[in-house]
Amino acid sequence: MEIDPFIFRLSIFILSIFIGYYVVWSVTPSLHTPLMSVTNAISSVIIVGAIIAALAGSSENVFSTSSVFGFIAIILAAINIFGGFLVTQRMLQMYKKKKKDKK
């Protein structure tokens, strides 16, 4: 009997939860705030769904009802992606500066 592809995706999902579990426990507590901002940024990879939805509009009708939702989602996700990664970068830079000071 053939295995439903859903099972494969479920396997990926469950294994990723385990990876997440071990990786996150190894994050140093002093970096928990950057952890939250970076997880926030990467969860905006949901933008791939938004792009698919937005590209689905035809040339004559770029803004169909469903593609409009895609376009709005693109803006929301883009705010998150740029905001999330940049603010993380900004925080992590501060952790670097101090090292220089010491030397």
Binding site: F13, P29, H32, I46, L55, A73, A77, I81, F82, K98
Partner: protein, 467 residues
């Protein structure tokens, strides 16, 4: 246009890059590299999506425009935001992820052909379940994060809002969502889908309003987790590996952080969710106790004298320090002390601040080297061997009652053993209780000197007196 198999491989690569991004955060040295991995993963995912759809009609130009608009807003916020406002920012960002998830799910429902999910009114059953769960969790994340944002920003009172039958109502609404999803699958009815989303928005609001300000670190972590599960739900709908991996990572990350925060407050997750903590119903009977206990108070001169003659000082910062913007003055004070060969370290309680690790970031911003900053379990034994503890803006996390009085609401919470120091300097505006609404026994100890003033002003005065 690239084949579905090839794009799936690329999505896997971006998923792996996201894992490496989190892995990098295990130490400050590797963290920046980790962030670049994250950015690379995101870039790959976006480019591959364009290539795999391969429809370069005029839509593409609009997408780029919208990307740039969103990106510019995001970049602007990221550079402007003060570090004290990080909790609000993160809550706000979570709400955007949640809303994006809802919109993608709506788009998938209205135009399933674009996602290979069947046709409108005849969507594959599994996809329908996945997209409704994704939309529901996304909607809860959105409205919950908005409430958290308003509370953190101070636009809404941090006090818990409770009413009778609240939990029953939440339960009923939760069940209603499942029943609606069930009927949605049977009928493919559009109105069912909208109802699921509408009820989920309501549940998000109802879930967060009863939770008080003191529990905000848990709430933010929890919403972080929800945003991950929402992304994973959409990932299943779109059959996209990158999204599934990311959703699982973010979901478990938020869950772990919630767990750490709960443990640091000695609260069970359930009691936080049920809410109501921090309502000041116990303050009355404590008041009379306050009166007949003497408190020693001092000024900046006394504090400077004490610290100058110490050989080791431990700083205990709390959120009050951040509110008063005293971190830079504090750094100046520490520099002066170090010049006099006094050993200075910082002790951070896990719930100091409004979100996990918030205090570390604030100290980092003030250029405090991260190897001078210690977590509770690493430094707690040092208090007994130190001369001065300088408590600035922290309160409940230093309360010895948590160790001695089983009746206290914070009994069992891990606290910093500040009272074991030879002397304690406690900067505070007044004797008012902290978030937990209880009196701090530390105020009345013989070795405690209260410094009644604004944290920033007091620190600046001490700096002057250290010369």
């Amino acid at each position: 246009m690239i084949s579905a198999n090839l794009s799936a491989a690329f999505y896997l690569i971006s998923g792996i890059l996201f894992i490496l991004a989190l892995r990098g955060l295990s130490s400050p040295d590797t963290s920046r590299q980790g962030n670049y991995f994250g950015i690379a993963g995101m870039a790959i995912a976006i480019v591959v999506t364009f290539l795999s759809v391969g429809n370069f009609s005029s839509s593409l130009a609009y997408i780029i425009i919208f990307l740039v608009i969103g990106g510019a807003i995001g970049a602007f916020i990221a550079f402007k935001i003060p570090m004290t406002a990080m909790p609000e920012l993160v809550a706000g960002f979570h709400s955007l992820v949640g809303l994006a998830a809802v919109f993608v799910a709506i788009a998938a429902f209205l135009n399933p052909e674009a996602f290979n999910l069947g046709t409108f009114g005849n969507i594959k059953l599994a996809s329908l379940v996945e997209m409704s769960i994704g939309a529901a969790v996304g909607a809860i994340t959105f409205s919950g994060s908005i409430i958290a944002f308003l509370k953190l920003r101070g636009l809404m009172s941090g006090a818990p809002i409770t009413f009778s039958g609240q939990h029953l109502l939440n339960l009923i609404l939760g069940i209603a969502i499942f029943i609606l999803i069930f009927y949605l699958c049977k009928t493919q009815s559009e109105s069912m889908y909208w109802s699921v989303i509408a009820i989920s928005f309501l549940v998000g609001v109802l879930l967060i309003i009863p939770i008080g300000g003191a529990d905000m670190p848990v709430v933010i972590s929890m919403l972080n987790s929800y945003s991950g599960w929402a992304a994973a739900g959409i990932g299943f709908t779109l059959e996209n590996t990158a999204l599934i991996i990311t959703g699982a990572l973010v979901g478990s990350s938020g869950a772990i952080l919630s767990y750490i925060m709960c443990k640091a407050m000695n609260r069970s997750f359930v009691s936080v969710i049920l809410g109501g903590f921090g309502a000041d119903n116990s303050s009355d009977n404590k008041k009379d106790k306050k009166d007949h206990k003497p408190v020693k108070s001092g000024n900046a001169e006394d504090a400077a004298f004490l610290m100058k003659n110490a050989s080791s000082v431990i700083i205990v910062p709390g959120y009050g320090m951040a509110v008063a913007q005293a971190q830079h003055a504090l750094r100046e004070m520490v520099d002066k002390l170090k010049k006099n060969d006094i050993k200075v370290t910082y002790a951070i309680h896990p719930v100091a601040g409004r979100m996990p690790g918030h205090m570390n970031v604030l100290l980092a911003e003030a250029n405090v080297p991260y190897d001078e900053v210690f977590e509770l379990e690493d430094i707690n034994n040092d208090f007994a061997n130190s001369d001065v503890a300088f408590v600035i803006g922290a309160n409940d996390v230093t309360n010895p009652v948590a160790k001695t009085d089983p009746k206290s609401p914070i009994f069992g919470m891990p606290v910093l053993d500040v009272e074991k120091c030879k002397s304690v300097l406690f900067v505070k505006r007044s004797l008012s209780p902290g978030y937990a609404g209880i009196d701090n026994e530390l105020f009345y100890k013989d070795n405690t000197l209260m410094l009644f003033a604004d944290a920033k002003k007091m620190t600046e005065d001490i700096v002057k007196n250290l010369d």
